[in-house]
Amino acid sequence: MDLRSIGKVAAALAALAFVAATADAKTLTWARTGDALTLDPHAQNEGATHNLLHQIYEPLLIRDYAGKIHPALAVSWKVTEDPAVWEFKLRPGVKFHNGNPFTADDVVFSLDRARQPTSDMKGLLTSIDAVTKVDDHTVRIKTKGPNPLLPNYLNNLYIMDKEWSEANNTVTVQDYKAQKDNFSVRNANGTGPYTLVSRQQDVKTVLKRNEGYWGKGPGDGQVPLGISDITYVVIKAEATRVAALLSGEVDFVQDVPPQDIDRLAKAPGLKVNVGPENRTIFFGMDVASPELKTSNVKGKNPFADKRVREAINIAIDRDAIKRAVMRGQSVPAGTIAPPFVNGYSKELDALPKVDVAKAKALLAEAGYPGGFEVTLHCPNDRYTNDAGICQAGTGMLAKVGIKVNLVAQPKGPHFTLIQKEPPETDFFLLGWGVPTYDSHYIFSFLYHTRQDKEGSWNATRYSNREIDASIRGLTSEVDAGKRNATIARLWGVLAGELTYIALHHQVLAYAMKSDLDIPVSPDNAVHMKFVAVK
């Protein structure tokens, strides 16, 4: 074969490859209200951050749209003869985006990394004692006492490439709240279905299909991987986001404002999927500081008085927020546990009766007959109509005499106020999703005293050592009946404390072009690899 014919063959092959590529190419522009806070897989335990990271990195196992657990980088897992040791069989033949093979060393490295002090994922791994490699594709996790629910805690725990991390000096997790930076904040090397092409924080992230993805192809447990290129854009203004979808500029809007659902559902060529999210929105307050930073009351903390919390609880008209602010798209709540969670009960979720007169009386009884002043911190790009919820709350509290100064800002600075130690907010709005579907996750992050591994999102400074011990005990309780009894007892105490004032369980709406079908998942986690193209 002479040189010329080799050239011809090569050209023909290239043309063929090109045709195949275009036939298979489907780009998707995906708009959200806010961006991932960082790409460091272990720096932030936050919904939108996980959502983007899931396209690039993979955990050992994931939850599907229905909330069911599926194998990802692990193929199987079981408890060994020792009930305190779990064994995970890893998927063979998987490669990271840079070509490095995926092995047990990477799993050991990643789980160790995620337990570092600066990691925000450490709160999920409190029960882990040690992670050891058995062979290249087997890992054992030893827990402090038996933990039958361990796999539930691993579905947002991404596996990084040990070699890559060491080479790029990102062995230490980014300290997000100290506004530190590292290589993995902007760069990524996962095993996931998409590779990172470029990223401009808060503007645009471009992803490309990982053609060597292990799960691609026909057969059981395989994924369609229909989208070849993803452009993830941040469009903060609701109307602009909706307009972008109507004009065809974007294909998929993950945060549809409730007021626009009807309009989008009626628009030709578009469809809207609506479903409940495993997340509850609530107000939290500093109940333990001797004095609030933003209040006109000096020398004491009004929120420390339970009567004040009770007054706020009955001053908030959740049904009115649902009707006016959420346009019917929310489920008013009496508890911060979403209905998906083990430990949720209808009784816990009963709504308090709105009673302005009684709230005023309670405030007077607590020594604030004229009310008081305080600043409410609120995100404006995280939850559905979050700033509107805060504003409505501000009005309702004004009716009982509490003058609220509202500060609504993007989630980055907002979450920093909450996560800083000591917290820099007296009164805040937060939404808490529960990826483990179990109450322990709520207790551990939101009620446990803030310390080494627990309480990282507990900005209320609520602290009860007896409760803390019971919370930690949950991770090693094998008897489901006893465990549930402890959960019920904890809720009995904690719900009564009213450190958080539940508002509603969030309802999600996704809007997309008709040739796509992305169902709403309770985790609000979109896995683009599941998307087929019609």
């Binding site: 006016a324 309702m396 009716k399």
Partner: protein
């Protein structure tokens, strides 16, 4: 003061004299907007009014129906805004009175509307009409204060640069040139961001007012400084300035007492046109979410709130504040335009 009266009218007469096509008699006090000598100030009011009504300015004003309409509209809106607490049916800043039951109501004449809320309500149950009145008030207060600040700053720096010349002039004017390369809104956003970061967690409304005033004021001083410097360069070589210098008056006194009155007419024009710009800038900042908080909306904040509901059929939330803002800016702009033409001798 005894030496100033002969000097100032001289400068005034020159400026005024140039506006007339015919040389005209150069009697003192023919400039209606200028300082009236003591002898005339004590004279009868009707004499002054008569003189005023007789002037070129009033003549050109009455001649244009558009300008009269613009002036009436401005007066009406400024009056309504200033009297907002007295005439507004509700107090939209009093959160106690808001009721979410009344949220998202269309205007009274549309089906589902309520007579209590003539122009409808927003997502928090605020009466749109009352909020427009209060919002216009905040917008006008902020813009007017900001324009005053910009004028004071620009005039002072311009006078100084023009009078002192040399290095001072070069420094001030280079700063002005650099700032001119940025759009005003960018400067305002920058100042706003820096000040907000400095007063983090503040969020108090009084603070917010001054943040906006300073942001807008700092964004607009350049134009004044450049104009005033130009005029000052011409004026400082005039005999009256030399005379003042000869008798040993300090430079500050010469600048502010002798030169300033002669540079005020272009400043007046810029200030009027800038007022419209400042109103728009305030609205833009509020629209972008760095202006007045949603609990005390200005026109821009209202448009931002209403804009969220643009696709959901609640058009009234954005339409009425939008129309108000457009009319206000247009009216003030027309007035400014007219004033510029009326005071520009070359356009006669």
């Amino acid at each position: 003061m005894s030496e100033t009266p002969p000097v100032i009218p001289d400068g005034a007469m020159r400026a005024k004299g140039e506006q007339r096509s015919d040389p005209g008699p150069r009697e003192a006090g023919s400039g209606p907007l200028r300082e009236v000598p003591d002898s005339l100030a004590s004279g009868s009011a009707s004499g002054m009014t008569g003189r005023w009504l007789d002037s070129d300015l009033v003549y050109s004003f009455m001649r244009s129906k558009v300008v009269v309409a613009a002036a009436l509209l401005t007066l009406l809106m400024v009056g309504a805004a200033l009297l907002a607490p007295l005439i507004a049916p509700h107090d939209p800043y009093d959160l106690k009175t808001l009721n979410l039951v009344d949220a998202n109501m269309p205007p009274a004449w549309v089906e589902g509307g309520d007579a209590r809320y003539l122009l409808g309500t927003d997502d928090q149950g605020r009466d749109i009409l009352s909020t427009i009145l209060y919002g216009t008030r905040s917008s006008l207060l902020i813009s007017a204060t900001a324009v005053l600040l910009a004028t004071a700053l620009g005039v002072a720096l311009g006078l100084w640069a023009g009078y002192a010349g040399g290095r001072v002039d070069a420094l001030i004017m280079r700063i002005a040139d650099v700032q001119l390369t940025f759009p005003a809104i960018l400067t305002a956003l920058l100042v706003d961001g820096v000040m907000l970061a400095a007063f983090r967690n503040g969020g108090q409304e009084a603070g917010k007012f001054w943040v906006l005033v300073v942001s807008i004021g700092l964004a607009f001083w350049v134009q004044y400084a450049r104009t005033v410097r130009g005029v000052t360069l011409v004026e400082r070589n005039k005999e009256y300035v030399e005379a003042a210098r000869l008798i040993g008056l300090p430079p500050v006194k010469i600048m502010f007492q002798h030169i300033l009155p002669n540079v005020m007419s272009p400043v007046l024009v810029i200030a009027t046109i800038n007022l419209a710009l400042a109103i728009i800038t305030e609205a833009t900042l509020s629209f972008l979410g760095v202006g007045l908080p949603p609990t005390e909306p200005s026109l821009g904040t209202m448009i931002q709130i209403g804009y969220r509901y643009l696709f959901s059929g609640s058009w009234w939330m954005v339409a009425f504040p939008g129309i108000t803002l457009a009319l206000l800016a247009l009216a003030v702009n027309l007035l400014g335009d007219w004033l510029r033409d009326a005071l520009n001798p070359k356009l006669r």
